[in-house]
């Protein structure tokens, strides 16, 4: 190479610099097209689509073998027929979605660590069976799952498809309870729990977001509205009836089991919960065309409340004991989340006070 040719090489490189265009190419990323939510407030969370790997049909283990769990770890619990299953936060923190099948019921446990929201969705959407994956996108710092059948994006806390062929469709929910591992296994001693042998190498014993759960100042992505009435990270059970929403503070329940017979937006509802047992659940009070009132039941788990006809019910809204076992109270569209997220998705939410 001669002196001149090297000079030319530098010159060419300089020209490349000057002419360089900013470009973005992608394959199999997101749906284009309209969104029901402001696109400017949808963010790439960093790991990418399926960069946080959802689990599908994971292995389960017994209580005795679930040594990776501590008593106060939170779990999301589901029961279909006699089969109770627990999906622990320490697994969901790393996977966010678990696609599962219980006695023929197809469901997706979706959990967003940044908004503290866990919701069980039906996996039959528009007549088609699907699995959900983690899109890698966030809206109001909340998980946007995508269904793999249509590549549509869903807003978890909005409970709605917001982009893609199924845009506008609402998710069908399964009854689910968020509580501690200790409470759940006291309620359902035969429960199975997701094994830490997931097929992925992850440090399931460690929480991946530092002090995020308790640091009230820390947000990792913007949210579109702030409501200072409660601390950002306070956990609330939110219910949605029509266009109105209401939040029940889990820490405001009594240590013993407490029931709240309420009427919200014209619907009689019962909220049952306990601060020490760390759970709250919401159901309609109308059963067999009659409005019932409920009172708490202590020290008889899984029974947590009794109706005015003397039937006992568990925290999943199922009646217990013969001859009326197996009835199901109608669950409300409700789930637990951090207050800041609930307020961002449902501005102007009422807050229950005694």
């Amino acid at each position: 190479m001669t002196f001149n040719s090297l000079q030319i090489a530098f010159l060419c490189f300089a020209l490349i610099f000057v002419s360089c265009q900013n470009t973005v190419d992608s394959e199999n990323t997101q749906q284009s097209g309209d969104w029901l939510i402001p696109l400017s407030e949808v963010y790439d969370g960093g790991p990418g689509k399926d960069g946080i790997p959802a689990l599908t049909n994971p292995r389960f283990t017994s209580i005795a073998d679930a040594t990776y769990l501590k008593d106060d770890d939170l779990v999301l619990g589901v029961k279909v027929g006699d089969e109770a299953r627990a999906y622990p936060h320490p697994i969901l923190d790393w996977h966010e979605i678990i696609n599962d099948e219980i006695n023929g019921e197809l469901l997706a446990i979706t959990y967003c660590p940044l908004t503290g929201s866990g919701i069980a969705w039906d996996r039959i959407v528009a007549g088609k069976t699907t699995t959900f994956g983690v899109s890698g996108l966030l809206y109001n710092t909340n998980l946007i799952p995508y269904d793999r059948a249509t590549n549509s994006n869903w807003s978890q806390m909005r409970l709605q498809c917001v982009n893609g062929p199924l845009k506008g469709r609402f998710a069908a929910l399964h009854v689910m309870l968020e509580t501690t591992w200790k409470t759940w296994r006291e309620m359902y001693p035969q429960t199975k729990v997701v094994s830490s042998n997931t097929g992925y190498s992850r440090p399931y014993g460690s929480y991946p977001y530092g002090d995020y759960k308790i640091n009230q100042n820390r947000l990792l992505f913007p949210v579109s509205g702030e409501d200072p009435r409660l601390p950002r990270k306070e956990r609330v059970l939110g219910i949605v009836i029509g266009e109105r929403t209401k939040a029940y503070r889990i820490n405001s329940f009594a240590d013993s089991i407490q029931t709240i017979n309420d009427v919200f937006n014209g619907t009689p509802v019962v909220i049952v919960g306990s601060r020490s047992k760390n759970f709250a659940a919401a159901f309609e009070r109308t059963f067999q065309a009659r409005v019932l009132s409920f009172s708490p039941v202590q020290d008889m788990l899984p029974a947590v409340m009794m109706d005015s006809d003397g039937r006992k019910w568990d925290a999943l809204g199922m009646s217990l004991g013969n001859p009326e076992a197996g009835f199901q109270l109608k669950a409300l569209r409700s789930f637990v989340a951090y207050w800041f997220a609930w307020a961002a998705f449902y501005p102007g939410a009422e807050i229950y006070s005694q």
Binding site: C20, Q21, D25, R202, G210, L220
Partner: protein, 324 residues
């Protein structure tokens, strides 16, 4: 006398060339200037360093433990043009221009996978260097300091399908940073054909205006310290060799005043290289970098190795002026 000065200048420039390494390292995948090891430039001389660097981020590390996971791969291609000019016997000015291509490939089993690539101008650096102890053929010692800034020329707001790409997928950071730089070297000719050198740079990062829709705006990459201790070995052949240990320490990124989890940490790299001299003015360097130690905050996808090729080109101003 002129001949002595000319020869001296060429030897000094050759020594300097051994130490020229410009590198864009990554913090959370975004190329940032993390290492400036270009020595000061003799008066009225020009030095050019044209580099290509391939940075493979494949290792998923949880604190110090490598996780068995290869589903997520990041690659950063960087082209860097470093230009330095000797203003006086003591002061020189260095600029660094970058082109960045970021790639993210997801291949989680059971999924269709994803690939995203962004490309564009990266940020630039302007650095003023002061030579406290000038290199000379007798003492073979040099000490220099520098101060400068990283200039946010690169785009930090690229979108894919209308969605703002993650901060670590942008070619630029969108923030002005301050840079402090220091360099020291000691040669041992004619007893030993090698020199030892120590470099350190520190970057004070600024915040950008990312997420400007809310009061929670402002993303700031972590402050960064890079220190390298190395040696260069000269041979009588066109080949020279070098090896250095590089220590890198990065504080956590911050968003809206709070630390961002899974960012920041400490790294130690081994960085061997070989130079090939085409002439007194031109040389190539082929070098690589592998991690020896990593202690990261949380779980991060981080560098598995880097490989780079650099072309050095010098115009010796002192020589020309004497001959004139």
């Amino acid at each position: 006398m002129a001949r002595v000065i000319s020869i001296t200048s060429l030897i000094l420039l050759t020594l300097v060339q051994q130490k020229m390494v410009a590198q864009a390292c990554c913090s959370a995948g975004t190329p940032l200037l993390s290492s400036l090891e270009l020595s000061t430039t003799p008066i009225r001389s020009w030095q050019f360093a044209l580099s290509y660097e391939y940075n493979a981020l494949r290792d998923l590390i949880s604190v110090t433990r490598q996780l068995d996971d290869d589903s997520r791969r990041r690659t950063v291609h960087s082209a860097l043009l470093e230009v330095s000019y000797g203003l006086t016997r003591s002061f020189s000015l260095t600029t660094l221009w970058t082109l960045i291509q970021q790639e993210r490939r997801i291949s989680t089993p059971g999924t269709r996978g994803e690939f995203v690539r962004s490309r564009g101008f990266g940020d630039a650096v302007l650095l003023l260097k002061y030579n406290i102890v000038p290199l000379n053929i007798v003492s073979q010692r040099e000490i220099s300091f520098g101060i400068g800034s990283k200039i946010p020329l690169g785009r930090s707001s690229l979108t894919s399908n209308g969605i703002l790409l993650a901060a670590d997928m942008q070619p630029g950071t969108g923030a002005w940073d301050g840079i402090l730089w220091a360099y020291a070297s000691e040669g041992f000719l004619p007893k030993l054909p090698l020199n030892l050198f120590l470099t350190a740079s520190y970057r004070f990062t600024g915040a950008n205006d990312r997420y400007e829709i809310t009061s929670q705006k402002g993303y700031r990459f972590g402050n960064e310290l890079v220190a390298s201790l190395g040696t260069g070995y000269r041979t009588d052949t066109p080949f020279d060799f070098s090896v250095l240990l590089r220590y890198r320490w990065v504080t956590a990124d911050r968003f809206s005043g709070s630390e961002v989890p899974n960012t920041g940490g400490e790294w130690i790299y081994l960085h061997p290289g070989v130079n090939f001299k085409l002439s007194n003015d031109f040389s190539f360097r082929l070098s690589g970098q592998v991690p020896l130690y990593r202690d990261l905050q949380g779980t991060q996808l981080t560098t598995s190795y880097t490989a780079s090729l650099t072309l050095f080109y010098t115009i010796a101003g002192s020589t020309l002026s004497i001959e004139e």
